[in-house]
């Protein structure tokens, strides 16, 4: 039996998703074959353990991230889940909305999204939204919009959805980087209550590193595409009769690239700037927080003093044989401001950490390359 189930899983993994899973919204359910019964869950009971990214989505995201101004590339991921793997089979970019008219642009985006989904359904593409993607530069992807959108998605979507972040600067260096994330449960709890006070952070044990959890990501090229790519990247057979392997020039459509061997550490300066900028922002934010804390402390002290004073008065009144004055209204006179949200400062810290990490990676790779070049010179 165990062998049979693993066989079924293997079979399921090789089947393309659209045929494997009947659309949940279809009025007539097709009978699920027995071999697939274990891996198809209509009720979304199997939790997601990995994300599988289709080659087309990879290229689409790279294209959009490169063309969008700044790091504002933002789009939706479409696909299906099968046996714990979220298969991302398509994606489309969302229009870049400027913040001039928020309500109008939100509506426009919603209309755009609906229209696009309908159109894709017409040509047999997957049309269920399973998350979104976001472009970023130098490893920093923490921001308010990402957290907000993902929180909404995690509420609404089946399985909560994922966010895939794509690092533009790393890709330009020759390392196409895609990572999948979702919000952690404690963060989501705190987010739902909209409470990011110190006490709540302690309760949920939240630091910037526990906001998001990473989901393992796999890249998949379907058979047709890998065959096509294979025939493009393999060298064309040498036309001349003398087929010395050393002479076979690579006339393939995709020649090997060596951009990674470039010694230059191009964007280190920009990276350092960003670190400093993020640190400055953090300092300002901390200043604001400290100011609000002090204000709270002051107000509290005032309230406490007033209550103590009233108590003293009451003591003297009781001593004098008079009825004591009520002391509730005194504390009500003072409005203690609510504790400020620490979400911003947490996100900023996350950003600093990410910039630091990317800086560190660039530096260490640079170091290795330098020593390699040096060894070459030495001998």
């Amino acid at each position: 039996m165990a062998a049979a189930t693993s066989m079924a899983a293997a079979l399921a993994a090789t089947l393309p998703a659209p045929q494997a899973a009947p659309a949940p919204s279809a009025p007539t359910y097709e009978a699920i074959p027995a071999s697939m019964a274990k891996v198809i869950d209509i009720e979304a009971e199997i939790s997601i353990t990995s994300v599988q990214l289709d080659a087309m989505v990879v290229s689409k995201i790279i294209k959009h991230a490169k063309e969008a101004p700044g790091s504002s590339a933002h789009g939706l991921l479409l696909g299906l889940d099968l046996d714990g793997t979220l298969e991302v089979s398509n994606s489309f970019p969302l229009p870049h909305h400027s913040n001039d008219d928020d309500d109008k642009s939100t509506k426009g985006v919603a209309r755009y999204q609906g229209s696009m989904l309908r159109s894709l359904k017409d040509v047999q593409a997957d049309d269920s939204v399973i998350g979104f993607y976001q472009g970023m530069t130098l490893g920093s992807f923490f921001n308010q919009t990402l957290v907000d959108s993902q929180a909404i998605h995690q509420e609404k979507l089946r399985h909560g959805g994922v966010v895939i972040v794509h690092d533009i600067s790393q890709t330009a260096r020759g390392n196409a980087s895609f990572r999948a994330f979702r919000l952690t449960r404690p963060f989501l709890n705190a987010y739902k209550k909209n409470n990011f006070s110190t006490a709540s952070l302690i309760d949920h044990r939240l630091t910037f590193s526990t906001i998001l959890e990473e989901v393992p990501l796999k890249i998949r090229t379907n058979a047709l595409l890998s065959a096509f790519l294979g025939s493009l990247s393999e060298a064309a057979p040498p036309s001349t009769a003398q087929s010395n392997p050393a002479l076979a020039t690579s006339s393939a459509a995709i020649p090997p690239s060596y951009s990674r061997l470039n010694l230059g550490t191009g964007n280190t300066a920009r990276n350092l700037e960003l670190v400093v900028e993020a640190l400055d922002n953090y300092k300002t934010e901390e200043g604001n927080l400290a100011y609000l804390q002090r204000q709270i402390a002051r107000e509290k002290a005032k309230a406490d003093a007033a209550v103590a004073k009233r108590k003293d008065e009451n003591a003297t009144r009781i001593a004098a044989g008079l009825a004591p004055l009520p002391d509730e209204d005194v504390s009500r006179q003072f409005k203690i401001p609510p504790e400020p949200s620490r979400l911003d400062s947490m996100l900023l810290l996350g950003r600093i950490d990410a910039y630091g990490k990317s800086l560190e990676e660039t530096a260490s790779t640079g170091l290795v390359k330098m020593y390699a070049a040096k060894a070459n010179v030495g001998n």
Binding site: P18, D54, M56, S59, I62, K63, A65, K66, P93, L94, M116, S119, D122, Q124, A125, A172, R173, G174, N175, A176, F178, R179, L206, T207, P216, I219, R220, T221, N222, A223, L224, L225, S226, L229, S231, L232, S233, S239, N244, A246, A253, S257, S259, R260, L261, T268, L279, R342, L349, G356, K357, L359, E360, E361, T362, L367, V368, K369, M370, V377
Partner: protein
């Protein structure tokens, strides 16, 4: 970089644009970005049983020298029967409008179809797209998926030109024009990611390697292999097995000539210090951030 099986075809440039009524420059060459190709292949995979081929719209830009750059593509519904061919024009317009919202620079440049047979229906569709792209000429990409036996995967680009005494939409000569795969740095790394694991991924899926060092190692290994190849060639020339090619010799001279002298002159040390400082700073910043985040969780007692 040619995109397709080598052929001996000569590309005829229809240099006299007077015979068409289009004032725009005739496209002389086509470059295709990978994303467009991938979308076409995906569309082909998702076709229904009844469909022999799929068609869709190509979006991109035109440059002044007659080069057409295909940046992306989208699928269009169509049906072909013995009697008639129908393209869902409304669908095409909707999709174009949607794409236009995201990227306003890309315009319709032509259409694609899979398979490499060009028939009367192709001429009719070409006629339709010519109206869409007017005053410019529409291009047609025929992508052979290589699924059918005996056919090689590849892409051919054509422009249509009318034929016959009286121009009729169903009469058309498809004139081949050169077609190349084009990618920028970012797309290049994406392709590397996809092609690097083609050989060892039996089931077509692999995990995302994300360490710069791993990739560096891979590049170094491939460079070392190439050096071995060159060495083998040079040695075989020296021993007289193979007749040396002067052109290759000069290329080798140029490639191996550059010295790293300025690295010697103290440049190395100063750069090393810079890099180490940056690395130290990065680590310092990260640990400070971590400490700061933890301190926020400490209860004031």
């Amino acid at each position: 970089m040619p995109l397709g099986p080598p052929s001996s075809a000569v590309f005829i440039q229809n240099a006299a644009p007077g015979f068409t009524s289009t004032p725009g420059r005739t496209p002389t060459s086509v470059t295709v970005h990978p994303v467009a190709l991938f979308s076409i292949l995906d569309h082909y995979l998702r076709r229904t049983d009844a469909q022999e081929r799929v068609i869709g719209t190509l979006l991109g830009t035109r440059s002044d020298n007659g080069e057409v750059e295909v940046r992306s593509s989208f699928a269009v519904l169509h049906s072909e029967t013995e009697e008639q061919v129908a393209v869902d024009m409304e669908y095409h317009r909707t999709m174009y409008d949607l794409h236009h919202k995201v990227n306003s620079k890309e315009v319709i440049v032509g259409w694609y179809s899979t398979g490499s047979n060009l028939n009367t229906y192709s001429a009719l569709i070409q006629n339709f797209y010519s109206q869409e792209t007017a005053p410019h000429q529409a291009i047609h990409l025929a992508l052979n998926t290589g699924v059918e036996e005996g056919q090689k995967a590849g892409v051919q680009a054509y422009v249509g030109s009318p034929v016959g005494v009286t121009p009729k939409p169903e009469n058309c000569v498809f004139v081949p024009i050169p077609c190349e795969l084009r990618f920028n740095d970012a797309e290049r790394s994406g392709l590397d990611l996809l092609t690097s694991n083609l050989s060892n991924a039996a089931n077509g899926s692999f995990t995302n390697p994300s360490s710069d060092l791993e990739l560096l190692e891979r590049s170094l290994v491939s460079v070392s292999e190439m050096l071995d190849r060159v060495l083998a060639y040079v040695q075989s020339v020296l021993s007289g097995e193979v007749k040396g090619d002067a052109a290759i010799g000069r290329y080798l001279m140029d490639a191996l000539g550059p010295s790293t002298e300025d690295l010697e002159k103290g440049g190395f040390n100063s750069h090393l210090q810079d890099t180490l400082t940056v690395s130290y700073l990065a680590n310092l910043v990260r640990s400070q951030a971590e400490v700061s985040a933890r301190l926020a969780l400490v209860k004031v007692s």
